[in-house]
């Protein structure tokens, strides 16, 4: 199972990575390699798939991957007719075999049958479905059922809508008719969220059980903008045993079909390969879903770090700049940035205003020094006063939020000045809870190319801070987030003695309401029936709706929850609500 981290659109580099992992697999004794879904072009290619030329170049590149090992490569397959859509398919790359004629068409092994078109998926937009399952004979001496991602999910009943077909049942039917199938493989690009891993394992076990032979899944790893893929390629046996590859690593899961204990992990030798967290395999007995082996906050942290690391690598971003307020969010964002690209490439700017306390400055300096960031201090009060001279009458006669936003926007000018002068990327530090409530400033603290914490609830930001501190201590390093930052009441410090809780409910309560609504789909009535206080619920949901316009202009944030802002939450258009007021 080639656990690949492709870059969307970069056919050449993706083929190089497939070939290199195939070589490592061959050297480790593999007889067959299986890539991830659409590995040649990366997932998701989106509207690149609407260019005929791109689809044709992808197919050609997939067939030409230079490898001695036979490899099943995921690629879009051009339609025979320009007025038809391509398919999401699998071709065989590698040396000719007795059952392969060399003709391109005969090297098509499988085409995806079930096209997910919900949440972050849009496959009916780009592909035609096939209504026949893939079967590869004599590939590496094996006969394999071949499926692509969603193909395996209908059988387990874990799709939001029902499909008319069930590819797993189809292959099982062949087995019952006496076709000897050694294993079924699945090429996946199955996105991450913190609860996804056990679901994916359940799908694999269900498939192995229905098929009565091993089920092997190769999953994409790494970040492509806001979408994260955790890897965790796996094999499940009909008796419920399973072996799972590490997350956040590019490499090869070597599968011994006969023996879970002989499976092994081979990390990629590419110099720039994603490599975050542990490389331990999970070897699970039937009934063990592995959740006890995964620390949710560690996994969340590694996910966020992977997202930023891959965003920088794939976009040729070599340095990061961010504002350090002394608060919890910017401290954790700094930890993430340092873990993603190295502390020496991160600049932290403390920019106190007239409302900032001395402890904020001290806390900001503490984080920068503990992490070893370059850091600078710029007082913004002179700029603030200068702007007030120009539009003071407007500010003093209008809504007080205008004056508060001013400070946030002046800081953005400083941060973007650094970014533009040095060719760095500014990152934002806001968390999901405050973005959901519009407790942030457009063109102020929302200014930047990436929002590492944009899908992390506030209480989880605290948990991440604790994780970074514990890890630093375990390594004999100073804890990057000060006790003061951990314990003081959160404050935007944009007005005298302001705290977040002047405006928002306590964050533990706010997070519960938001999570139940956003991930759980509960509406106001449901939430009140669940026992939440009605005025709090109405307040939170109205602020959520009223501030939707801000979320349209937020930068990409790595998706770690079941439902993130952005692609997976398609905005409705103008309504009778007045939530569009920019602010």
């Amino acid at each position: 199972m080639l656990q690949l981290d492709p870059t969307v659109g970069d056919l050449e580099q993706n083929c190089h990575r497939i070939a290199n992992l195939a070589k490592q697999a061959e050297e480790a004794g593999a007889v067959l390699g299986v890539s991830t879904e659409l590995a040649v072009c990366g997932y998701p290619p989106r509207d690149l798939l609407m260019e005929h030329d791109f689809v044709e170049r992808s197919m050609k590149a997939a067939l030409s991957v230079p490898t001695n090992l036979p490899v099943l490569v995921g690629t879009p397959i051009p339609a025979e007719d320009d007025r038809m859509l391509p398919t999401n398919g699998v071709v065989r790359a590698g040396p000719p075999s007795t059952s392969i004629t060399g003709d391109e068409h005969s090297r098509i092994v499988a085409e995806k049958q079930l096209l997910p078109t919900y949440d972050v998926f849009d496959e009916a937009r780009y592909f035609s479905p096939k209504n026949r399952s893939g079967l590869a004979r004599s590939v590496g001496g094996l006969t394999l059922g071949v499926t692509v991602c969603e193909d395996a999910w209908q059988s387990a009943g874990l799709t939001p809508s029902a499909y008319a077909q069930d590819p797993i049942e189809h292959i099982a039917g062949w087995c019952r008719q006496g076709v000897a199938i050694d294993a079924t493989v699945n090429l996946s690009a199955s996105p991450f969220h913190t609860e996804k891993f056990t679901t994916r394992l359940a799908v694999a076990r269900h498939a192995a059980s229905v098929l009565n032979h091993p089920f092997l899944l190769a999953n994409q790893v790494g970040g492509n903008d806001d979408l994260l893929f955790d890897g965790r390629s796996l094999v499940a046996w009909p008796d419920g045993r399973a072996v799972i590859a590490p997350s956040w690593h590019e490499g090869v899961l070597m599968v011994d079909l006969a023996d879970p204990d002989s499976c092994a992990w081979v990390s990629s030798t590419e110099g720039d390969a994603l490599s975050i967290g542990s490389t331990d395999l999970m070897v699970l007995e039937a009934g063990d879903d592995g959740s006890a082996l995964v620390d949710t906050i560690e996994e969340l942290t590694n996910a966020v770090v992977s997202g930023l690391a891959d965003y920088c690598r794939k976009s040729s971003i070599h340095s990061i700049v961010l504002g350090l307020s002394g608060g919890i969010d910017s401290a954790v964002a700094a930890c993430v940035a340092a873990a993603a690209i190295g502390a020496s490439k991160v600049t932290g700017l403390a920019m106190p205003s007239r409302h900032s306390s001395q402890h904020s400055i001290d806390d900001a300096v503490h984080t920068a020094e503990a992490l070893g960031l370059e850091h600078r201090l710029h007082e913004i009060d002179a700029m603030h006063a200068s702007v007030e001279t120009v539009i003071g009458d407007v500010l003093s006669n209008g809504h007080p939020v205008a004056g508060e936003n001013l400070q946030s926007r002046l800081r953005a000018i400083v941060v973007m000045g650094y970014a533009n002068a040095n060719g760095s990327m500014a990152i934002t530090t806001g968390n999901k809870s405050e973005i959901a409530q519009g407790y942030c400033t457009l063109y102020g603290d929302m200014a930047g190319g990436y929002a590492p914490l944009g899908d992390v609830y506030k209480m989880d930001v605290y948990a991440m801070a604790d994780f970074f501190n514990q890890r630093a201590k375990a390594e004999g390093l100073p804890a990057p987030v000060s006790d003061s930052t951990m314990t003081k009441p959160p404050s935007a410090e944009l007005a005298p003695d302001q705290t977040d809780q002047d405006t928002l409910p306590p964050y533990d309560l706010l997070d519960d309401v938001l999570r139940s609504h956003i991930e759980g789909g509960l509406n106001a009535d449901d939430l009140v029936a669940e026992g939440f206080d009605e005025p709090v619920v109405m307040d939170v949901l109205q602020r959520l709706e009223r501030n939707e316009h801000k979320r349209w202009q937020m930068p990409p944030a790595p998706r770690v929850s079941r439902r993130a802002f952005g692609q997976g939450w398609r905005r409705p258009l103008a309504s009778n609500h007045d939530w569009r007021r920019p602010g």
Copy 2:
């Protein structure tokens, strides 16, 4: 044909508008009303359709529209099973008729067969297709074929991909079998671009010809964020005659099936109904595509004004603020804003910097005074100097664009200060050509809630300026765009003696390259083969790609071209290009 301007998600107001137009139609002698596609919830509802509750409330609201006239109402229709998707359907509202039992299910008249899922459309994400055409018997004494939007387009061969079914051919088949059908109606939400109108007419004429009876199309009108609908509901006869309703007006096209000359237009009596441009009907003989009757620049201007007007109305925005530089873009944006919501509700801010010329200030004041805007002048040099005191060393040692962006961002602070203090919306003034080239500043001139010119090429901005000037003169008013603004070399005025052409090719050439690439789909090789200079082509296309990250954060812009930035141009994800650097 009820040419409706619904608000997405606002069921109550939409039903009210349907009922009011139905009443006006009844008073004008109609026997049947036909609404637009998904009129009850507005088009496009996007992920609202994934809430079962929303679909059910829509259906209930559609069936309950208070009307004495029978009306065919577009609505999502819930699936019988929660794991199935709804359909995009048509129900009959109004008093019971002999052929109607009163049972909800029997009041379903049609369900959409062809679900467009390309460009701005995503219908396979939300709906199940039906494979049987609608037929309404004895509705208003007529027997009607009933289709929904895309259903009519396969027959004319004008969809990017082929569908397996053809609803028009299906109805024609019934006719050939002896079913007496008086007319076929089509409920549409067919978006605008400047070349769309003649295509839609060709589809209608083709359908009428195949069906051998009149084909009537009711089209949505107005703006929903970036999507515009021009209305222009129409009827076509088998002999090629056609009558077309006005664009940018809500109202009723009264159709006499027997006599084109007896068709009539009734404007909506709603106080807030969209009403821009002429209300003349087009009555066309066979072979006349009406294009000689439409002035493209007038239509483009009316479209942009309609988009902003509807955005403000539907979002409860009552005033607008914008920067006036003395340049062509901000002058035209001011004309658009004044036309959309009234000059008295628009504030123009002249914000000269050390690099601004006196003629820029004079030109800005000219536009503001000619239009009758409130206007203010704020020098930004003191703020500029204050920021330089803080980060001057960073700016002077880095890329010069950092210093240039500073001025643009300081202006954004002033504009947003006004907007936030007064509850106004800031609008951006950038045009499509410069946004395509990244010749704009994130969090600077890109800051605002709406980008009226964001899909208008630079040369068309000049043409719009000329149109506004001519119209003002014809009305005896001063021309809002000064001769100096029309003729001086365009300049961002962010560095001494800077002009746009220091960086970009001449705008007429740039627009040609961009239009051929973006709308025409020509790649670099194609463009060179067309005769464009290769270095220019490479330069333009590389700048287009390198600046894609800026377009992700641009506010909604009314879509007037075949291909706009945003929803209709799905961004690919991280590639090996370095175009993500914020700047």
